[in-house]
Symmetry: C2
Amino acid sequence: MTADGPDSELLARVFLSRVLEPGDEVAGRWVRELGAAETVRVLRKGAPQLAGVTDKRWAGLHARAREADAERDLGLAREAGVRFVIPGDTEWSAQLDDLGDARPVGLWVRGRPSLRMWALRSVAVVGARACTEYGAHMAATLGAGLAERGWVVVSGGAYGVDGAAHRGALGAGGATVAVLASGVDRPYPRGHTELINRIAEQGLVVGELPLGEHPTASRFIVRNRVIAALTRGTVVVEAAHRSGSLVTARAAQRLGRHTMGVPGPATSSLSAGVHELLRDDAVLVTDAAEVVELVGDMGELAPQRRGPVLPRDLLEPGARRVLAALPGRGTASADAVARGAQTTRDDAIARLYELRSLGYVERHGDGWKLTRQAMISVRDGRGGC
Amino acid sequence: MTADGPDSELLARVFLSRVLEPGDEVAGRWVRELGAAETVRVLRKGAPQLAGVTDKRWAGLHARAREADAERDLGLAREAGVRFVIPGDTEWSAQLDDLGDARPVGLWVRGRPSLRMWALRSVAVVGARACTEYGAHMAATLGAGLAERGWVVVSGGAYGVDGAAHRGALGAGGATVAVLASGVDRPYPRGHTELINRIAEQGLVVGELPLGEHPTASRFIVRNRVIAALTRGTVVVEAAHRSGSLVTARAAQRLGRHTMGVPGPATSSLSAGVHELLRDDAVLVTDAAEVVELVGDMGELAPQRRGPVLPRDLLEPGARRVLAALPGRGTASADAVARGAQTTRDDAIARLYELRSLGYVERHGDGWKLTRQAMISVRDGRGGC
């Protein structure tokens, strides 16, 4: 590992991503107090032992630190088309900072869109793996409905509710993010390999763990805080008592995000956890419109209401081409926009959702159109600001 | 009609029950400001016209006043085993006074138990007439569960949820009250004649309208405020948007009663009204324990927690006999108590629920036992106070 080059912060965090377990708040405090690079130095040297850790655990961290090779990890990731986004990057979502010392040291990201832009207008839809047909139906309907309203659907890629929510969003030509409890090159569960690869093509697959890492029971649990933090709110579709989805919902509550639940029959044990949540502070929702009514009600976070927030000249060339491919009046399909911008459909969709977050475009059913404000800024020659 | 005998207030209110439509707040104000007897005198003489009423309506009231015969109404009711309970009577429930000028002028009552005592520990269970099997199941389960916990189940005697709630309570050997929108001698709907007669045997059938009166659409609506006022809280099991059950729930909310809803599938139009309510202020409940947890949480209204509230010597002889029939330790069935008290099972149950309201007895599953406080008062020879 190189010492103090321009990549030193990045490499230090890649190293920590390999050595530390996600969600370790004691280690998070070291990073906050010493900085990433100094934490790496201490972990590699081994002494003096840092505060708040047993001898045994310190030895374990030390052993992992000896094995870690940040440059190799980063190189392999780049070959696999995976980037590592860290605090301070333009793509870093400040929403993750709400996690305090449990903030990820960085996120491994597969997919074209900007994590930060997508997180701005996203909702988590989570629930039971062994869901009922009703649960799968509701998750798919919510996923599609949120996508149709221009919202990004975030979930955990699992069987049941998670998968149905992702598929609902994809099926509606919408945006979706899978947050994994494993390396982003290790789709889990195996039966969702095709789905997760498709999400990486059309959306984003992200995770805290470096390539090759497998999920564990505790990694699933701590992963849930990332889903809660990345999104504006969490909807639980079906969950038994003591379900992992409730962990996500409680994390969302603690983070001041909206917590929502889809009711089910009082006789269904798979709705019992949701009803428990609804008897506390969560809001009952029955469709995507009700979800959007709640999460969309935050002026400063809904830039489309105020029009574009970034001057057109500062957009990336790819985004500018997609913007230019939209008609002056009326809507265009994602396919038509892709043809006009001479890019793939998936890239066009990713750009359209970014432009949506920035207030340039709106989604109407299957079509995309310029916002009123974007049109005015074009007419006035103000360049979109 | 006699002038100023001891029954003059009663007869005046019987007269008003025949002449005024239930829930008429303008007329309620006359009664409050002039008193019942003076209101009757003005209505019979016809002039001067009272405030807040059109000429046409005044003429209508006048015509009805000419036809009314309070002594005959009261006589026929007594022959039919029906009593008229008015404000100031020991059986009057002060909870009804919360209705202000919409307070009933009195309530016609069929059945043995004391309306006031039963209302003290009662919950309304209401919902759609055309309910689903799920709704009927939940209503029956709640009715039985509330009865098993010693709570009186109040409903409107209708098909669907109402009927299932009544039957659930009756089936569990519990207490139930049907509040009709017709005369209590006119069971409605006709198909529930047997059920409503059984409620009158084992519980109470009450209504604002004098014998022979039929229900109308508006009478159903205004009846709902009586259900809301008589009870500690209202549970809506299934209700479509704009359902009459929501009127009861909103009335309960305005009266400061607990408002509860049983969730159902988000895809069910018969749960849509309940979900609407739950998105406002109502509390989601899935079983009787959750209902009782909520409505039972009012210290001064749950005398069983403090032990008996009425000296044993002041109990009616029938209630004293039932109390004496309970074993010093352990539980007895309602049948055993009836045998011991030399009365019918229905009478024993009615008395047991009264004694429950007064803090003397508790229900445990199918059995009844003395409360700890009642036992102590016997041991100490304090006569139950």
